[in-house]
Amino acid sequence: MGSVDRPRPAKKTAKSRRKSASANEPEFVQLLTPEGQRRSHPDYDVNFTDEEYRGLYRDLVITRELDAQGTALQRQGQLGLWPSLLGQEAAQVGSGRALAPQDTVFPAYRELGVQWCRGLDVISAFSLFRGVDLGGRDTVADRFQMYEIVIASQTLHAAGYAMGVAKDGAVGGEDGEAVIVYHGDGATAEGDFNEALVWAGVFNAPLVFFCQNNQYAISEPNARQFRVPPYQRAGGFGMPGTRVDGNDVLASYAVTKAALDRARTGEGPSLVEAFTYRMQPHTTSDDATRYRDEAELDYWRAKDPILRYRSWLEAESLADADYFAAVDQEAAAEVRELRQRVMDLPDPDVTEMFDAVYVDPPAPLRAERAEAVAFRASLDEGSES
C-alpha cells in the first residue's frame, strides 16, 4: 500500500494548535462516515450490486497505487515531477464512475483516477511528466481531453464544448451527452473560471463543474481564493451547487450522477464541490511543511477514503480478505507493468518539435526543421555537451 512519509515530531507547536479535533465539520452530502458507517440523505442514495460495490474498492486501490508509482518514479529520476492525488481517490473514482460512456471529460492535471475509471491507458499522464511529450491523446475516441496545466483554462474549453453538444442536439433524455470539467479550489479565483460559469449559465450548457477542493492551491488555503465556498458561488451564476464529502466515494458518485443527469437531460449546468484533502505536497518538489503541520495531516488521515470504504465493505460482508488480497495483487501487477512501460518510453526525436505545430507547415518552418535535423546529425554522438 502506498504510504505517506512520516515526518519526525515537530519541535514547534504553535501551528499545531490551529486545527483542533473539535473543528466544525463542513456541511456536505455524505453517505459514508469516516468511520465507515452508512448514512442516508434525503436527496441522494446509491443502490449498487455487490459486484459494483466491490468494483469501487478496486478502483480506489488501483488509483492509489498507480499514483504512488508516480511519486516513486520521480524519486527514482524517471519523471521530472509528479502531482500526487493521494487522499482524493474517492472524489475521482466516485465522479469517474458516475460518467456515462457518451460523456466527455475535461481534466486539469491531477485526474489519474478519473482516467483509470474511464478505462483509458494512464501512460499519457506519465509520458507528460516524464517530458517525452506534452500529453497528446486521441481526445475524440477517448472522450477525455488532454491534461491542462494553465489553471482554469479548461473550464472555458469545456463550456464551449458543452455548447457544441447542445448545438448538435445531443442533449435530452437518458442518452444525452454530458460534459464534466475538473478543476481545483485555486481555479475558482481565475477569470477564465468565472467566465466559464457565465457562458455555461447563459447558454444553458450541459456541463458539470467538478471542483476538487483539496484545501490548497500549492501553499495557499481556501481563504485566499474565495469568501464564499464554490458550491455557494454557483448560485450567483444561476446554477445549482452542491458540496459533497470528497472522501466519500458513494456520496461523490451519487451527487455527480445527479448533476450529470441534469446536464444530459437539458436542465443545464451545475457545480459539484468535492471537499477533500491533498495529502501529498502540490508536486514532488514542494515542501509542504512550510505551510501546514502534522496535526492537520493527522486530522485528514482519519478521514481516509479507502479505509472507511473498506471498513464498510467488511462490515456489510460485501468483501472478504481474499478479495482485498486479490485487489492488492492486481494493483501490484498494474504497477509493475506501468513502471516498465514508463522506463521504456523512448525519448522524442528532434523532428517532433516541428511536426505538429501546424496542420499545414509553412516553408520557413520546414527549412528550420531541416536545419535542426542537420545540426543534430552533424554532432558526434556521445561527445560532451
Binding site: M146, L156, G160, G164, P362
Partner: protein, 324 residues
C-alpha cells in the same frame, strides 16, 4: 464582379462561408442582432439564425476559450474581437491554448478557428481602439496571422482563413473599412499566405501591410512625379511571411523600406529587416529602413497624424535610403 467596400466584402465572404459550411459559426460581442459595431456581420443572424451567429457575453477570454471547445467538438468558429485593444484579456487563450493545443496533441487535434480583429488607427478614436498588436501573434508559433489591405483581399482572405485547418488571426484595417474596389467573387488570385507586388518599380521597395499599403501606394505615386519608381509589396501574411517576392524585389531594387503603424521596436519591421539583411546582404545598397509608429502608446486622436507613418515620412525614408 462588383464594386464594394471592405465591410461589404467581408460581409459577403462571411455569408458565403456560412452558406457553404454547416459547421461554421460566427461569435462575438454585438455581432448578431446589431450586425457588429462596424456592420461587418450585418444581417447574418437574421438569415442564418442565432445558433450560427452568436451574440456572446462581454468576455474576450470566454470567446476564444469557448471557441476552442466548440472546435474540439467539430465546429469551425469565426470569432470577432470587437477592437484591437480588447484582445488582451484573451491573450492566454490565444497563445497558450489556441496556438498550442494542436502541437500538444501531437497532431491529433485540429483547431480551425478564425479570430477577426479590426486593428490600426487613423479613425480619430479614443484610447485602446487604434492598436496594432499583430507582432505578439506573429511571434507565437502555432498561429497564422494575415491581414487584408483592400476589399478584394478582404473577401478572398476571410474565405481562405475559414478554410484553413490551422488557427488564423485575421486583422482587418479599420481605417480602410469604407474603401471601395472591384471584387471578383469568381476566383481568388492569390493564396492566403502569399505576398503581392502591388506596384512594380526599380528605385526602392516599400514593404507594407494592412492600412499602410494605401500609404505606400500614395507615396509611390508622389515619388513617380519626382522620377522615382518605387515598388510596393503588400505582405498580406505576417505569419508565415512570404519571403520569395520580398527577396526578389530587394535583389532588383537594392533598397527596402518597411512601413507599419505598430511601434517600431520589435515590430514586424524588425523581423523583416533582420531576415532580409541576412538573405539579401550582397544586394543591399542601403540598410533596410523602417517607417513606423513611435515607441509610445498610441496617442490622443489629435496627435495621431504625427504618430502614424505618412506619405512624407515614407518619402523621407526613401531619400535617406538613396543617400547611401
Amino acid at each position: 464582379m462588383a464594386t464594394m467596400t471592405m465591410i461589404k466584402a467581408l460581409n459577403t465572404g462571411l455569408r458565403h462561408i456560412l452558406e457553404e459550411d454547416d459547421k461554421a459559426l460566427i461569435m462575438g460581442e454585438d455581432v448578431g442582432r446589431l450586425g457588429g459595431v462596424f456592420r461587418v456581420t450585418d444581417a447574418l443572424q437574421k438569415d442564418f439564425g442565432a445558433e450560427r451567429v452568436i451574440d456572446t457575453p462581454l468576455s474576450e477570454s470566454g470567446i476564444i476559450g469557448t471557441a476552442i471547445g466548440l472546435a474540439l467538438r467539430g465546429y469551425r468558429p469565426i470569432c470577432e474581437i470587437q477592437f484591437d485593444g480588447f484582445v488582451y484579456p484573451a491573450f492566454d487563450q490565444l497563445v497558450s491554448q489556441l496556438a498550442k493545443i494542436p502541437n500538444r496533441s501531437g497532431g491529433r487535434v485540429r483547431l480551425p478557428v478564425v479570430v477577426r480583429i479590426p486593428y490600426g488607427g487613423g479613425i480619430g478614436a479614443i484610447e485602446h481602439h487604434s492598436e496594432s498588436p499583430e507582432a505578439y501573434f506573429a511571434h507565437t508559433a502555432g498561429l497564422k496571422v494575415v491581414t487584408c489591405a483592400d476589399p478584394s483581399d478582404a473577401y478572398w482572405m476571410i474565405r481562405q482563413a475559414a478554410a484553413s485547418e490551422d488557427p488564423v488571426i485575421f486583422f482587418e484595417p479599420k481605417r480602410r473599412y469604407h474603401a471601395k474596389a472591384e471584387v471578383d467573387t469568381a476566383a481568388a488570385s492569390l493564396g492566403l499566405h502569399e505576398a503581392r507586388v502591388a506596384r512594380t518599380g526599380t528605385t526602392a521597395t516599400l514593404i507594407a501591410y494592412g492600412p499602410t499599403v494605401d500609404v505606400a501606394l500614395n507615396a509611390a505615386a508622389a515619388a513617380a512625379e519626382e522620377g522615382l519608381e518605387l515598388e510596393v509589396v503588400d505582405l498580406r501574411s505576417l505569419s508565415p511571411i512570404d519571403w520569395e517576392p520580398l527577396e526578389a524585389s530587394l535583389r532588383k531594387t537594392g533598397r527596402a523600406i518597411v512601413v507599419h503603424e505598430a511601434q517600431g521596436t520589435l515590430g514586424m519591421g524588425s523581423e523583416l529587416a533582420a531576415r532580409l539583411s541576412e538573405r539579401c546582404f550582397y544586394s543591399l545598397e542601403a540598410p533596410v529602413l523602417r517607417v513606423t509608429g513611435y515607441d509610445v502608446p498610441y496617442p490622443a486622436s489629435r496627435l495621431e497624424d504625427d504618430y502614424l507613418p505618412n506619405l512624407d515620412r515614407v518619402l523621407d525614408a526613401v531619400d535617406r535610403s538613396l543617400e547611401y
